[in-house]
Subunit: 348 residues, 2 copies
DNA sequence: TAAAAACGGACAAACGTTTGCGCATAATTA
DNA sequence: TAATTATGCGCAAACGTTTGTCCGTTTTTA
């Protein structure tokens, strides 16, 4: 039996009935008699019949498939997110078409095209770091293919998105350190060009205001996120007049570089110098010297929300609900989590 | 312009020519005159025409899509692999349809069905831990849909696979420890039911033989891979007559549990008790107390190889090469890697 | 200048479904 | 018993392509 899969047509021929009857019989359409229905189902079973989705897709104009484009699958943050997305999609009988942009604008554009050609019903996107023009996304809207952005949001009007606001978490982080008695708190921030850096800086300043403290700009230094850059940034902080006793780092990688460097400088981690970071790495629980707390961004949750929104939009569209005019703009509040707990850092 | 995407049919109507002409013009078929060709392309451009892949799929009987089924996307090993798979697929103009089984045999079966319905051209599978029957895979072969398994291989005849042999790496690991002067080396192995445990044990024994040493079975203990189980296993080893000075652990999680426990017992890691493990975790480079060496399984490479094999098979099939009778069985040799190096542990 | 070849394009089938409509036959009603 | 309504099923169009075959012009060749 090394044949092509059975078709409805073959069943019809073998039973000497029409294809439409077979189709209806398989769908339990009321206008088909019990006997024929049973005959059809029996034969379908024997022939191991499986409907050809590609045909159905063409016929129905929908593919029950959502496209997912994100920068890098091997990044822990994104693999958590995609895992959530797949789970959500599966529950609602959708399938996931996956692609990674590797932070390449050109590739991202090609992928959008490809997804369009594949006629995905909708798209989930975390935009490439290097994307400057958003025309390829705009184009898609013309075709009535909904997009939901998550985590990395483009500067566009009228879009659906799910993102995590770092400000609250940052305020919590700084307040946490203040409460622990620190009076001089440094921040190793990312490049000023990044939106994420802005959020962190804002959070820092607001925490100071909230606690009625003076903001000292020299306590926020930026780095290029490399190990060398981090070392330099930490050196800068430690050389500062108001030498900080605690540091908030842009992300876990920076934190680990900084911790390593601090250890080399014979500083006792979280005693001489306390660290708080933003969670990207899943394993922080396993390490010895880690930030005493982390601002969690809930990748699993973000992916889940984004997928659910998209699937809702698709369901509405399929039910012929009028054109959307409102846009989902979900902000997940980041949250400070003290480490060494039993907290599930995946945010599941 | 909130219309459906343009079709070849519309172009034909607007230009008062036949659809076949339009199709051929767009494909630069020689039998179409230059002028019409240009007219067609011009209009296609203006209408933002994009071929409807679902229609092409139906027509051609192939989808340029490969399905990937693996246990859990958020596992670092698998996210590396899927990243490689997507990269390989992209290069050869294929797209990836993704699903995770969560180690659930039933779900895995459903996913295979789903993939079949979606008419993926081929399948890449890392089988669920709990899968006992492989009938769903056998079925697929009937339909001439090639499958390549990777990492977790089912006990089936006549399959293509890519796997990593742990034996060599284990021999290297034990030999490495012997060479460093250890005379009593323990192993915290996984459950005996796991194939992977067998490989490790075999490797251990072979290393002993190779080094003309006597094998002491009491130095290999098994655990259930939980933290508690690991602690117990380590206690067992430490209480043994020939108290080991080095331990090979089943995987990084076990290693970390064991290291934590050893630290609690006031043992100095890699001095009083040296650890060697199998790499699953990407961050081992960042941690303080880590195994001094790891047996690397190269997830990225495995994914890449598996994808390449599948794509080769598909290319052959498409070119009408006769039915395959030979099977790819690629074994990637695991390799011991000393930590704290600059080695890229992703295996990229 | 007539026959042959080359050119440019149209027709229609096919891929596997779903679904609106129409049409017999059988069952119900009056 | 005649008129009406169910019941059960077939016909054919449609989704958007590709591609084998055929046919009418034009160009080339002899």
């Amino acid at each position: 039996m090394r044949s092509k899969p059975a078709t409805i047509k073959e069943i019809a021929q073998l039973l000497n009935i029409s294809v439409s009857t077979v189709s209806r019989a398989l769908h339990d359409h009321p206008s088909i008699g019990l006997t024929t229905r049973q005959k059809v189902k029996k034969l379908a079973g024997e022939l191991n019949y499986e409907p050809n989705q590609t045909a159905i897709f063409l016929q129905q104009g929908r593919t029950l498939t959502i496209g997912v484009i994100l920068p890098d699958l091997s990044e822990s943050f994104f693999s958590s997110a995609i895992s959530a997305i797949e789970d959500s999609a599966y529950k609602r009988n959708y399938t996931v078409l996956l692609a990674q942009s590797h932070d390449d604008e050109q590739k991202e554009k090609q992928l959008v095209e490809k997804m369009k050609n594949h006629r995905v019903d909708g798209l989930l996107v975390s935009v490439s770091k290097n994307t400057s023009s958003y025309q390829h996304f705009e184009n898609l809207k013309q075709y009535n293919i909904p997009i939901v952005f998550f985590d990395r949001i483009p500067a566009m009007q009228n879009i659906h998105y799910v993102a995590c606001n770092m400000e609250i978490g940052t305020i919590e982080a700084v307040s946490y350190l203040l409460k622990k008695g620190h009076r001089s708190i440094g921040m190793i921030n990312g490049p000023g060009t990044l939106f994420a850096s802005g959020e962190r800086k804002e959070g820092y300043i607001k925490a100071m205001i909230k606690n009625r403290l003076k903001f000292d700009p020299s306590l926020i230094v930026t780095c290029d996120l490399t190990e060398a850059g981090t070392q330099q940034a930490l050196n800068e902080l430690l050389a500062s007049k108001r030498k900080p006793t605690a540091v908030v780092t842009f992300n876990d990688y920076v934190a680990l570089f900084a911790i390593k460097h601090a250890t080399d400088l014979k500083l006792r981690i979280n005693q001489d110098l306390e660290f708080v970071s933003y969670a990207n790495l899943p394993l922080i629980n396993y390490m010895e010297s880690i930030p005493s707390a982390s601002v969690e961004q809930f990748p699993y949750l973000q992916g889940q929300k984004a997928a659910d929104i998209l699937l809702d939009l698709l369901a509405q569209k399929h039910q012929g609900v009028a054109e959307q005019t409102a846009y989902y703009k979900i902000i997940i509040e980041s949250q400070l989590i003290e480490n060494r707990g039993t907290t599930d850092i995946k945010g599941k």
